[in-house]
């Protein structure tokens, strides 16, 4: 799959995310949009996974530590073939396997049930440690939110992974600069963010996190440094894909009205009929 095709995948994923959330009655649109390119590159280029054998002990593991972007993960899993696409229209509805946050026992391909912040990251580090103990070659990836990095447990884990030289582990931070209520810098700023991770012993790379080509070049040359866990600080745009959701924290968890729905669908290349995204 070349870059053009991956970019096309990103377009499709954004459509699927928006449609799923709007028709399902709610979700975290902007936080899902900002990680689309990261998921596309991981799921269609990097991860050694097989939808026909989701529990293969040798598989790579991906943990969405920022579980509130679950719909983005479901969309990637659906496109990859882990779950049938028909499930997407059941999201958030009675009897579905797809809730607001991912459930590892219900959804093939989901490695950890996340939602409470600061859990998936150390959980994934445990997986990477198991690989080292068992001398296995699989790699482990965890995707964190930037706001999530205000949790103390993130920094406990940040101390732990370099201590154990987990260079089979890569953390990606969706650094979209916003948390639920405002910009991070106005609440609890994390700068100098990359330096913090370096100081903790991580091999850090900064990338434009919505740029497939840049992401690809970083992910294809992991680990960033042998003997150290890798930290990809991905500068992203929260809400990317729907113009009015960018730089407006109120959209963190909010549904568009009829007029806003039309505008968003127009921008994403979707159609809307009688309030339902097609």
């Amino acid at each position: 799959m070349d870059i053009k095709e991956l970019e096309q995948k990103a377009v499709e994923l954004r459509k699927m995310i928006f449609k799923t959330i709007c028709n399902g009655g709610g979700g975290h649109c902007p936080a899902s949009f900002s990680i689309v390119e990261i998921l596309v590159v991981l799921y269609f280029k990097i991860l050694n996974i097989d939808p026909r054998n989701p529990k293969d002990p040798e598989r790579d593991r991906f943990v969405l530590s920022k579980g509130h972007a679950g719909v983005a993960l479901y969309s990637a899993l659906a496109r990859k073939g882990f779950i049938e696409e028909k499930h997407m229209s059941t999201y958030g509805k009675k009897g579905t396997i797809l809730g607001g946050h991912p459930d590892m026992h219900k959804i093939p391909g989901v490695e950890a049930s996340t939602g409470a912040l600061g859990h998936g990251f150390p959980f994934a580090i445990g997986m990477a440690l198991a690989a080292k103990m068992d001398k296995k070659d699989y790699r482990v990836f965890a995707l964190l939110g930037d706001g999530e990095c205000q949790e103390g447990s993130v920094w406990e884990a940040a101390l732990f992974a370099p201590q154990h030289k987990l260079d089979n582990f890569t953390a990606i931070i969706d650094y979209n600069k916003y948390q639920a209520m405002d910009r991070l810098e106005t609440i609890i700023g994390l700068e100098p963010f990359a330096d913090k991770w370096r100081a903790f012993g991580w091999a850090v790379k900064e990338v434009e996190g919505n740029n497939i080509e840049e992401l690809l070049s970083v992910f294809e040359s992991l680990p960033v440094e042998k003997g150290k866990p890798s930290l990809i600080l991905a500068h992203t745009i929260k809400g990317k894909g729907v113009s009015y959701m960018i730089d407006e924290p109120i959209w963190h968890y909010r549904m568009p009205n009829a007029e806003e729905l039309k505008v968003a669908c127009n921008e994403l290349g979707l159609e809307v009929k009688e309030g339902v995204v097609q």
Binding site: S113, P122, F123, M127, A128, A130, E156
Partner: protein, 317 residues
């Protein structure tokens, strides 16, 4: 009790490389043999309990059987959401070994006492709670914990717990044990305090009171049969626990009696009465200061028996 746990863990880990000992910088000397011989199965996670639990859950998701271990209150109170979400919710095979349960770390003060742990762990779905009363049981329960596929809380006191069983008995998880049979009153207890109960029963015997003593080494799932039978046969139940009376063993037993009990009984919970442990000193001093000495137990039994007489006399007239 702690040494019995460690020797059992050592033997288990020797035989099964999936078994790991994770500690939170709390095992000077006592872990020396384990870490010398089984370095690859040992991990000091540092003073980061929350991280230790999440990492353990991740390890378990890849087939490991981590036994996480530290002083109970740091393990459970600090890392409670990790225990709930990462282990219980996801059904991960992680063991939680808490030492210093109750006020076993007597002179270290209430920051090092765990007297709400049963209450907290009991409400978690998928959790098994094992609470040995002596070294023999600690060993048996450690082996049992390894055999259970899922989260287990092993509630240990510390070193120096007196022996109750010399040769053991036909042990089974979830099955309470009648240590002494008796007719006038049943005392139900768990953990190290069982020894204090047995001392009290000796005194009561001298006064002609026949007490049944039930040791519930498994708090969850609880043995309903043994509780209901005791209610039926002795009509008087006293719970003794080195724990808050709120939400602990007494609450668990009273839930069973309320819902399934068929006879009128007298019932009392003995433990910390909605309070933190008071005072410093030896473990025995602490029992004395916090209303859990053999004298207090005897007194409680006598009061209950007096009440029983009054109640049943009234109800018969």
């Amino acid at each position: 009790m702690r040494n019995a746990y460690l020797s059992a863990l050592y033997d288990l880990a020797k035989k099964d490389s999936r078994i790991l000992a994770l500690i939170s910088d709390n095992g000077t000397i006592v872990y020396d043999k384990y870490r010398a011989d089984l370095a690859d199965q040992f991990l000091n996670c540092g003073i980061s309990e929350a991280n230790m639990i999440s990492v353990a859950a991740g390890l378990a998701s890849c087939g490991k059987i981590p036994f996480t271990y530290t002083i109970t209150n740091f393990l459970i109170y600090r890392a409670y959401e990790q225990i709930r979400n990462d282990a219980c919710l996801q059904k991960m095979n992680v063991k939680f070994v808490g030492i210093g349960c109750g006020f076993a770390y007597s002179n270290l003060g209430p920051t090092h006492h765990a007297t709400e742990d049963i209450a907290l762990m009991r409400v978690l779905p998928n959790m098994t709670i094992l609470s040995p009363c002596d070294p023999w049981e600690a060993r048996k329960l450690t082996v049992a914990a390894a055999e259970i596929d899922g989260p287990v809380f092993l509630r240990l006191a510390t070193g120096g717990t007196p022996k109750i069983y010399d040769e053991g008995y036909g042990f089974k998880v979830g099955q309470g044990v009648t240590i002494l049979d008796g007719e006038d009153v049943t005392i139900i207890a768990t953990g190290g305090i069982v020894f204090e109960v047995l001392k009290a029963v000796e005194e009561l015997k001298k006064k002609g009171i026949s007490a049944r003593v039930i040791n519930l080494h498994t708090i969850k799932p609880i043995d309903k049969e043994i509780i209901l039978k005791a209610a039926q046969e002795t009509r008087t139940i006293l719970i003794v626990e080195e724990h808050s009376i709120v939400g602990g063993l007494g609450s668990a037993v009273s839930e069973i009696l309320q819902e399934e009990g068929k006879v009128l009984i007298r019932f009392k919970r003995m433990g910390l009465n909605n309070a933190f442990p008071q005072g410093y000193g030896s473990h025995d001093d602490m029992k004395e200061m916090n209303g859990l000495s053999k004298g207090h137990i005897c007194q409680a039994v006598e009061t209950l028996l007096k009440e029983k007489e009054d109640v049943f006399n009234t109800s018969h007239t």
